[in-house]
């Protein structure tokens, strides 16, 4: 059947609410407004105000509340409207959610899920176009999911809720209207692992989230590029990368985040550390330009990796 990324998220949330009374949804405009991206539209009526909470603009406050509720035995699903605003809750996410289990000698666990949209490309300007999921992947104690397709959007909340740790889910804003063919029942395969989206022999393209479809489109112009969707940025599925690079001997990383000190830098370093002698070329990276994302359409397009940028780089590397 056909399903949109938005409906897949809706299905995931409804399944969670239906199957576990400990689950509740809390965030800005998730109730009466129906969700900024209409993901939770109608849920307040269906599930009532004891399951769906319209929170005030207090990201740190309701994220901290979620941590406490998780410590107290509930399964909070906190929605932070976008990754940009999650910085207001960063102290709670990093200094408490991520640290508590280890810092308490393994006594307390924080089974908290935080969903947020991410990414640029809609002319929303510098403060609404961040792609910071790689940044969050820097933090030990968190797990980071980046559903890039409808099937993963359906399953990511299930993966997160069946894991007793703080899990951040980054939903790409540009994917919400994507419609894909999916099976009647969710597959829920390989939680917290990468997947080979397209087999190939000549080059390994490693990407995630909003860049997966662009990369696949660019690769359709070439006969034999292997595309890996990381799906989960922490833990990072190194093996799927190494296995592919050992076969293709070339690696290209496509990351919507900034280049310096980044996820793409981490992946590149891991390839170098483990597959140095397998490489026929230096590892290459395509990332967003190191500027705040500009408003003007042509500048924004130039700042965020596009299909043609990816295709051009692949062509160079295959030459």
């Amino acid at each position: 059947m056909k399903m949109s990324y938005r409906d897949a998220l809706r299905e995931g949330i409804q399944t969670a609410l239906d199957s576990d009374p400990r689950v509740f949804i809390m965030g800005e405009d998730v109730g009466a407004y129906g969700g900024t991206y209409a993901v939770t539209k109608g849920f307040l009526n269906k599930y009532g105000p004891n399951r769906i909470f319209d929170a005030p603009l207090s990201e740190a406050g309701f994220t901290g509340l979620g941590i406490g509720a998780a410590l107290g035995g509930l399964r909070p699903v906190i929605e932070i409207m976008t990754v940009n605003f999650s910085l207001l809750a960063l102290d709670q996410i990093l200094n408490s959610a991520a640290l508590l289990h280890h810092m308490s000698g393994g006594q307390f666990s924080v089974p908290l899920v935080i969903r947020m949209t991410t990414g640029g490309g809609r002319q929303l300007g510098a403060q609404h176009s961040h792609s910071l999921e790689g940044w969050y992947a820097h933090i030990p104690g968190l797990k980071i999911l980046t559903p890039s397709n409808v099937e993963d959007a359906r399953s990511s909340l299930y993966f997160a809720l069946t894991n007793p740790n703080p899990v951040l889910i980054f939903e790409h804003a540009l994917l919400l209207n994507t419609i894909e063919e999916v099976p009647d029942q969710p597959c829920r395969i390989h939680p917290f692992k990468g997947l080979v989206k397209k087999q190939g022999e000549d080059l390994t393209l490693i990407t995630y989230g909003g860049m997966v479809n662009r990369s696949l489109e660019a690769c359709s112009r070439f006969s034999s590029v292997e595309v890996i969707d990381l799906r989960c940025l922490r833990p990072l599925d190194s093996e799927i990368i190494f296995n592919s690079v050992r076969k293709t001997h070339k690696a290209l990383i496509v990351d919507e985040g900034w280049r310096s000190c980044s996820l793409s830098a981490e992946i590149s370093a891991r390839i170098m550390e483990t597959c140095f002698y397998d490489l026929h070329l230096p590892v290459e990276r395509i990332c967003r330009k190191e500027v705040p994302i500009p408003y003007a359409r042509h500048l924004e397009l130039a700042a965020i990796p596009q299909v043609d940028d990816i295709a051009l780089k692949i062509k160079e590397m295959l030459a």
Partner: protein, 320 residues
């Protein structure tokens, strides 16, 4: 208040005082390292509040929390071992003085980010409420925390959603070295709670009976109304903020004048005057406390170090 209860209060306050003074000695001997924040002078506050709490209640505290952990039931030996960085410490040597935890005793730390525990306490109380579990949630924080945005977010959330949590402000007048009047335009802290429609009351944190009375009122209000409550207790720390504080910001005279209202001294005199206790019995308490301290230090000393091979354990909870 019966004489037995009063004796227990005195014993606990004396025990906290001795634990803190001993920690200082052990710090100078380099048995305890890192930051060490002592509760000397503030004993009546935590003792009064904790005397009304039960094992099943939730408590969150700050980085000046040895006493809170102790009175919540965390064994002195495991607190000491934690400060020694040992494997039998209550956080397996991962936390230290500022991060004491005990799941068994529902003691949720030990938070060293000012104000960060407040929303989490709201969440704990929210969980109890929605699971229909009868337990109180109490969060302690210093007056420095009222300057943080998270203080206001937390009070608003608790008030807006009728979440029964007791906010206890330990107002010791200085946020590290910055006095309240130098950091807040409004120094009447109860007013800050009132703007969020949270009922509030101020009390004398140097008087254990006042602390008990005010806390009792808060507990019965919270239980009956299922709403939050804000308590401010004025108190004073006799020791520097931490071991690294030369105390340039306050005078010796000020400290000495506050020492005249030493809460332990005050309680002693109160009990002796009413012949509820004798000097001999107090001496016996001191001896008993000394024994407990020696046992705890011995335990901490003997406790093995966590093997470095276990360093990376407990980063994630296992999937069941």
């Amino acid at each position: 208040m019966t004489s037995i209860n009063c004796r227990k209060l005195l014993f606990e306050m004396m025990m906290i005082r001795r634990m803190e003074e001993l920690s200082l000695e052990l710090y100078t001997k380099e048995k305890i390292r890192g930051f060490l924040h002592l509760y000397v002078g503030q004993e009546a506050l935590v003792t009064g509040v904790m005397s009304l709490l039960r094992k099943e209640d939730n408590v969150m505290a700050t980085y000046r929390e040895h006493a809170h952990a102790l009175l919540k039931g965390v064994p002195l030996s495991s607190i000491m071992a934690e400060m020694f960085g040992k494997s039998q410490g209550c956080s397996k040597g991962r936390g230290g003085s500022m991060h004491l935890f005990s799941k068994e005793h529902r003691f949720f730390g030990g938070n060293a980010i000012v104000g960060a525990g407040l929303p989490q306490a709201v969440g704990l109380a929210f969980a109890s409420l929605s699971q229909n579990v009868k337990r109180n949630t109490v969060v302690f924080f210093g007056e420095g925390a009222v300057a943080e945005g998270i203080f206001h977010e937390s009070l608003n959330l608790a008030s807006l959603w009728n979440i029964p949590v007791i906010f206890i402000c330990e107002n010791n007048l200085y946020a590290m070295g910055t006095s309240l009047e130098r950091s807040q335009a409004q120094t009447e802290l109860t007013k800050k709670a009132q703007v969020h429609n949270v009922i509030s009351q101020a009390g004398d944190g140097m008087d254990v009976f006042d602390v008990i009375e005010k806390t009792r009122q808060a507990l019965s209000y919270v239980e009956e109304k299922k709403k939050p409550y804000f308590l401010e207790f004025k108190t004073y720390r006799f020791r520097p903020h931490s071991m690294f504080d030369p105390e340039l910001y306050r005078s010796k005279k000020e400290i000495e004048s506050w020492k005249k209202s030493d809460p332990i001294l005050k309680l002693r005199v109160h009990l002796l005057d009413r012949e509820m206790i004798t000097e001999v019995e107090i001496k016996k308490m001191e001896d008993d406390i000394e024994l407990l301290m020696q046992e705890a230090v011995l335990f901490a000393d003997k406790s093995p170090l966590e093997p470095v091979t276990d360093l990376e354990k407990n980063l994630y909870e296992d999937v069941l």
